[in-house]
Point group: C2
């Protein structure tokens, strides 16, 4: 499968992005992964030479895109005006069937807006959604939407549920994924107006709906897919990230307070690292953009080579398993409105 990679997007672009491509190409080239680096050709050729001695033998090609979307560019501007950016060029490769998926660690708003404009939404989908996978000890949980559509209608959340369930089934092998509705109380009838109106629609959807889930249950694996508007989903994601930082900072401070703690801390360091590992975005890499006619994945802006390689591997697997086809057929099972 050919994965178009935005080589100009991300805090550590293009260096780490290109190194991530090299890593992934070495590891997964034999499985059929081909990386298309999209960006300023001369820069990328140079980075590629710097990153490996055997670049010419790896399944990596470069497609030129002269323009770069800055991290602070307004999404609509990037989508409508910067037609020669690496984001636009990469997404056009997907639209034209020259790539099977697109991955970017750049300006995520710009990538999503450009994807909607270039690829168009899937049939019957009004609003696309970005998902984020929490690798919980009990298994992965997908939160969807985490920021694409801040204000949602009930039918949007229902679409997110279908898309999220198909994603978890195909990409993470979860049979009949449990769909939960993020709320501020478990009982049916709890929630804001949006949740209260969405509940009966999900209950009648034919999906495996397990009812309302609170933030606490969402982080405890009570559902495989947690559906919410993009505002609430972003809050979940960012608070979770913030708590990881906060807790490990508190632990570090406590361990440094006494010499014998410090010594025990040295012994325990690998164990603490292992505990923190499932919480590390670099391990799960990228968030799918669901609901457009093509596979698009968003990696964290801070992604390093490891994160990019992991994102490429996920995108490759999703494309191999026919994710786009399954999303479309899942949507077709929606009851007629």
């Amino acid at each position: 499968m050919r994965i178009a990679l935005d080589a100009m997007g991300g805090d550590h672009a293009p260096g780490e992005i290109v190194r991530g491509a090299v890593l992934a190409a070495r590891r997964h080239g034999a499985d059929g992964l081909h990386v298309i680096l999209v960006g300023q050709e001369a820069v990328l050729e140079r980075e590629l030479q710097a990153a490996s001695d055997d670049a010419s033998e790896l399944p990596i090609t470069v497609v030129h895109a002269p323009d770069v979307v800055a991290m602070d560019t307004h999404a609509a501007h990037a989508a409508r005006r910067q037609r020669q950016s690496s984001v636009h060029v990469g997404l056009r490769l997907v639209r034209d069937g020259e790539a099977d998926a697109f991955l970017s660690a750049g300006n995520s708003g710009a990538t999503m807006a450009t994807a909607v404009l270039t690829l168009r939404p899937l049939p019957g989908v009004d609003r696309p959604a970005a998902g984020a996978v929490f690798p919980l000890p009990s298994g992965p949980t997908l939160i969807v939407d985490v920021g694409t559509t801040a204000d949602c209608q009930p039918r949007h959340l229902v679409d997110f549920a279908y898309l999220g369930a198909a994603y978890m089934e195909i990409v993470h092998g979860v049979q009949r994924p449990r769909v939960g509705l993020l709320s501020n109380g478990e009982e049916a009838g709890k929630g804001n107006r949006l949740v209260q109106e969405t509940y009966p629609l999900l209950a009648a959807s034919g999906l495996h709906f397990v009812g309302n889930v609170e933030g606490r249950q969402a982080t405890a694996g009570a559902a495989d897919v947690v559906v919410c508007d993009g505002f609430a989903g972003n809050v979940v994601l960012k608070v979770a990230e913030g708590m990881v930082t906060l807790i490990f900072d508190l632990i570090r401070g406590a361990v440094r307070s006494r010499l014998h703690y410090k010594l025990a801390g040295l012994i325990l360091r690998p164990a603490l690292r292992r505990a923190a590992q499932p919480l590390d975005y670099r391990e799960h890499g990228s968030a799918p953009l669901l609901g457009v006619r093509g596979l698009v994945f968003i990696a964290h802006g801070r992604s390093d080579a490891t994160a990019i390689a992991s994102g490429l591997r996920s995108a490759h697997a999703a494309a191999q398993r026919g994710l786009l086809y399954h999303l479309t057929t899942q949507l077709a099972t929606r009851p007629a409105p």
Copy 2:
């Protein structure tokens, strides 16, 4: 100050609640704390004897209330029908000037609904709000609302900002508290419709408005008061709680995986406890209900005696410092609509 305590509310009522009252009366009786236990008189007298030898010498009195609000009773039912419950009787003590504050670890929805009905909102306040204090290393942060009003209008969030700022100033001694608006992006203009419409109102409020804060920044102490609707606030609170459980479970699992980790873990246990302590709800105890004509505090349903004692201490301090007066004067500084 006389604090009315709902002795029948909470997972461990009445035993732990009464023991909490005894603890607080012993510790803070000399500072003028007087606890009014509200509930079934015979039961409470018995618990009080069981909890201490010197009950008769402590500043604790019992006020009889025959009825108990169950944890699963609908809030409106408890507020409108159960007029002889410990919640109703305790709040009437506040309304009638016989108590200076009310504290309950029971059904929080019922307490809030009954408080609004019994005490009425403060002048010019449409919707009351519950606050929760995050004891961050950089200082306490108040999240408001955390569940009272799921669907808000911009003017409600502005009221929450005034109330929250007054609370942090009086109770936590924060000078000119920094007010942040919870959003899914830092820049002005980011957010859902509610946030976008609230932003200019807060910018013009005269409060120390620091703009939008994301969930990540909220947990990093970027604002002293984080304003949001009750749905989003509940999500913040519950995800934060869930992440604490998740992370310490992961650490426990990693430490148990090897013998030498286990030994180092034994040495480090006090340090890890100390790290977890600021994250423990028992240490910060209770959430203020802001915007009603009286001081009302909600403790966690799981509260034990320590948590109740801590909640009584906070309520006592808030009453001593004249919180209600300051909330009212702060609201009076709002620009005319």
